[in-house]
């Protein structure tokens, strides 16, 4: 089913939580909504589910205006952050709930419940009490409950939010597969960039109640609309630069050779920002250090990440505070905190965006 959000605004008293949000989602598309807390992403989900009436705007499902249709007649599947499982029903009772509401014959309910529990890896859990489930099991029951009635639109609000990190990483892969298997159009709200990238074919970045950018994950990573979106999407060094009329970019450490960084179409002549992802710079070996065009900085922090080390390098900028650039150090070549370091831009990986 296709979904269309048209100019939706939500105000609580004097506060605008959503501001003229537009969004289109194709049939069977999986869209992730990414944003910091308070950006309005959960409210958007509640408006789509019909749990929150918009102050202005419309919601269309398959071209039909459902703005006034109550939640229980919208046929959407909804999964909450803390799962909101019914404490007075067992696992099967929770999963069967939506099927019962749809007046499914009880034999069919049994079959479907078994099928869905099998799908989420909880076969044999039918009669278990909700109280005795682990966090990961609850998450699976919540997902099973949401997909059991075969909703054509599935809304997930931080589905992995309450789980610890190791479990999240493990369930994230499964979630992606399950969403595909469900055959539903999916909107997955999260504050976690890794989650958004893992599930979303497209990612909607929200900020202060507005949609800041909609793009596929790799595009968003490489070509954010501005520095603030760049920071929401992931770690980045943001360096002030000057762009001349011909599109040549000048960084604090000198001119950047043509073609090394890409310039956004939104950038005009004058001051701009260069977004450097950790993979857009690399450490230069000792013997090449003095070469022209390298940036020189000081290592201020190292974080061991198992298969690689993330180093934060501070680079001096004339007329402003120093900027910090995250750098991936795979070879373990970078020295400890306080040691000087030379960096080189990876061609084609830096992106120049307009000033905020």
């Amino acid at each position: 089913m296709s979904l269309r959000v048209e100019g939706v605004s939500v105000r609580f008293g004097d506060t605008a939580v959503l501001h003229e949000v537009d969004l289109e989602v194709d049939d069977r598309e999986v869209v992730a909504v990414l944003g910091p807390s308070g950006s309005g992403k959960t409210t958007l989900l509640r408006v789509i589910a019909g749990l929150q009436a918009p102050t202005a705007g419309r919601i269309l499902i398959d071209g039909r205006d459902v703005t006034g249709v109550p939640t229980h007649r919208r046929g959407v599947g909804l999964m909450f952050q803390d799962h909101a499982l019914f404490p007075h029903r067992d696992v099967a009772g929770n999963v069967a709930f939506g099927l019962r509401m749809a007046r499914t014959p009880s034999a069919d309910i049994r079959m479907r419940v078994d099928e869905v529990l099998e799908l989420v890896g909880l076969a044999g859990f039918r009669a278990r009490s909700i109280d005795n489930l682990s966090g990961g099991e609850r998450q699976r029951v919540a997902l099973a409950r949401a997909i059991a009635p075969r909703p054509s639109l599935l809304l997930l609000d931080e589905p992995l939010g309450a789980l610890d990190r190791a479990l999240r990483d493990r369930l994230l892969d499964e979630l992606g597969e399950l969403l595909e298997l469900s055959g539903a159009t999916v909107i997955h709200v999260t504050h976690d960039q890794a989650e958004a990238f893992a599930t979303g074919e497209r990612v909607v970045v929200m900020r202060e109640g507005r949609v800041a950018q909609v793009a596929p994950p790799h595009e968003l990573w490489r070509r954010p609309v501005d520095a603030r979106v760049a920071r929401i999407v992931g770690p980045a060094g943001i360096v002030p630069v000057e762009v001349d009329a011909a599109g040549a970019v000048r960084a604090p450490w000198g001119a950047i050779a043509a073609g090394v960084v890409e310039v956004s179409a939104l950038v005009e002549e004058g001051s701009a920002m260069l977004v450097l992802r950790p993979d857009a710079v690399e450490a230069v070996a000792g013997d090449e250090e003095e070469e022209e065009g390298h940036l020189v900085g000081v290592v201020v922090a190292r974080a061991f990440r198992g298969d690689h080390v993330v180093v934060r390098v501070e680079v001096e900028v004339r007329g402003g505070p120093p900027v910090e650039i995250p750098v991936i150090d795979r070879a373990g070549a970078v020295g400890s905190s306080g040691s000087p370091i030379a960096l080189r831009l990876v061609p084609g990986a830096g992106f120049v965006v307009p000033l905020d």
Binding site: L51, T71, H72, G77, F80, F86, D90, M101, A146
Partner: protein
Amino acid sequence: MLSLLPLAFLAVFFLVPVATIVLTGLRPDGRWQLGVIADVLGDDALRGVIWFTAWQAVLSTLLTLAIGLPVAYALTRFDFRGRWLLMSAITVPFVLPTVVVAVAFLVVLAPGGPLGGPLGGWWRDAPLDLRGTLAAILLAHVFFNIAVVVRVVGGLLEQLDPRLEDAAASLGAGRIRTAFEVVLPLARPAILSAAGIVFLFTFTSFGVVLLLGGSEHATLEVEIQRQTALLLDLPVAAALSMIQLAIVGTLLAVGADRQQDIAVEQPLAPAGSGARSPRRASERAFLGAVLTVVAVLLGTPLAMLVGRSFRGADGSWTVEWYRLLADPDASVLGVAALDAVRHSVEFAVVATVVALVVGVSASVVVMRGPRRLARTLDVLLVLPLGVSAVTVGFGFIISLDDPPLDLRSSWWLIPMAQALVAVPFIVRVVVPVLASIDERLREAAAALGASPARVWREVDLPLVGRAVGVAAGFAFAISLGEFGATVFIARADTVTVPVAILRLLGRPGPSNLGQAMALSTILMVMTTASLLAISRIRPRGVGR
């Protein structure tokens, strides 16, 4: 729509009677006359009644706190065998009919009782008759209201994070220092609210003062009943009712923000996280002392009541009094005293059903209805609790006897009065539970296709089911023991057990006294058993 039911019920059975009292007091003959109130306030005897009502309530409250607070502390901070049994046992006196408690204390305080003999021997070489004294009233009030203090204050202490006490201990505070410097200050809101409730209950005390206070002691409630039933002076009774309404209304307004804590707390989950075994000798001594006081204070009257009901006039064991209950000829009531049991059960069943329907729909409106309506109803619902049963009964008599609603001779009047007394309790039990249901459970149900009515049936109802069961148990127990309103309304053919006990006590002779004891014992067993049984009923589909 849902709000119409509770509003209509409150209007007919509460606002109209109270308004009629006001009109009777201020417009005795069709003209406004404020003189009656001035007359009452100018009358030394009646001023004395108001004064006595207030200070006996203050004394009762202080005494109840003095005994109840250590009990609440001991039951929640120390872990010992039988702790949960004791927690439940302490609630029993609270739901016992006032008449039963009064009769039990009549036995205890009689010259031959455990107090009168030794005290009298030490003081003036003759058994002391404590019946009809202030001490009798205070003792019975403490007996009743310890449960309030233990429930309200204990409920808060139960949730107190034990790490706060650990922190105090790690900073060098001993157990007693910690109790006074950490636990008690944190419990202050609960202590104040418990004190408010106890004051309210003892200020409007009726049965205890009527039966134990003798002819010298009268609270406003007793005086209102005396003016109405004996002196037939309706304007003075109305004026007294209004004075009581004004005092109670002021108190309720002052404590309005603490309404939520009034009356009955939810039964607590036996988490017992903050409780630990007593370690040092001093702790064991404290615990032992507290448990002894509780056992003696709560256990003695009831045990003696049961014992006396099986003792003949000559002191031998007998079931004579129980046998006489079934004998119409032995009864002063004109019919067999056991008929009162049947009446009581019938009235209580009807009253419970009415109170549940009104109370649960009112709870839903208070929780989910339009805000202004919810607030209005919330306030209206506490009023019957404070206005007291005698006023309600009196109001029924003088208001519901004219067309369009002539119910004075109707069978329905008694269960309606009892339901009115029970409704505030039901709302106080059900509203907090409704409020504690996670809104997202309802949203999840809606997203899965449940209509609002279905959400109520599938989510709210099963989750409040236990609370509704508890509320029903309370309503039934309250109705069984209701005295203040029923004593006004009951007629010869609709005598309930408490009223029958009152009439038996009013006649001389060992047979009447013996029957009163037997009937009180039966009422005590009925109340306790029904409370336990009904609160176990669960709506279908509730797992736990």
